[in-house]
Amino acid sequence: MNVRELCRSLGLNPVAGEKGMDRKVDGAYAGDLLSFVMANASKGNVWITIQAHSNIVAVACLLEMACIIVAAGVQVDGDTLEKADKEGIPILSADLDVYTLCCKLHSLGI
């Protein structure tokens, strides 16, 4: 499954990083403490977080994650969107909370 298909299946709102919508999804990681994410997330992961500042793009980029889902209706900062467009990291906005998103990803086989 790629990011575009994931986005469609869960009815998420893509707000940045269109260039990366064809990235392949491989597993998921949920967390808001950036050093834990750096230590434990893997390449190709969907990252679910409620952090929305621009450093999340650097983390996703360094780990080559598939995309970031910003959960719980948190508004994403303008400079985050800009950075995500530049790096081609899709940011998907969701009103659902982190737990519900994890369950839905699981039911999709991720």
């Binding site: 950036l34 750096m38 230590a39 390449k43 952090q51 500042h53 450093n55 793009v57």
Partner: protein
């Protein structure tokens, strides 16, 4: 890269410059990829430079990151202009952090930075003098 070739990168990192946070580590990673360094080694170097960069931004009065790459190793040096680490043993404990509440709310200051750096390094050293500054050196070997 031939035997005698060495690539040297140098980044100035300013205190509290969250807008540029991740630039030094992202650029280092791009260079390592271009040089054809194996992806697991590149990932470890990316973690070390990222954490070093965040430490300089969050805790220091500013400093620099120097990355030296040759055929056998990647050496990452993070050097700052103070204030120095009062207790290195404590700073190395997982979960120990002196970060402010504001920084923690952003997801930094989990007390995992230095432990993450050590875990990803083959050789790791911290030198710190209160009032003067801190130098953290990490070496990651590149297998043949």
């Amino acid at each position: 890269m031939s035997q005698k070739d060495m690539v040297s990168l140098n980044y100035r990192v300013n205190a509290e410059d969250f807008a540029k946070a991740g630039d030094a580590s992202s650029n280092t990673k791009k260079v390592l990829k271009k040089l054809g360094i194996p992806s697991d080694i590149t990932r470890r170097a990316a973690v070390v430079t990222y954490e070093a960069e965040m430490n300089l931004i969050i805790h220091s009065n500013g400093g620099e990151i120097i990355v030296n790459i040759d055929t056998t190793k990647i050496q990452i040096i993070a050097r700052d202009f103070g204030p120095g680490i009062p207790d290195i043993d404590k700073a190395m404990q997982k979960g120990y952090s002196t970060a402010s509440d504001h920084v923690r709310e952003m997801g930094f200051g989990a007390g995992m930075g230095l432990p993450n750096m050590k875990r990803c390094s083959d050789e790791f050293e911290i030198e710190s003098k209160k009032g003067e500054g801190t130098t953290v050196t990490s070496i990651i070997h590149i297998p043949d």
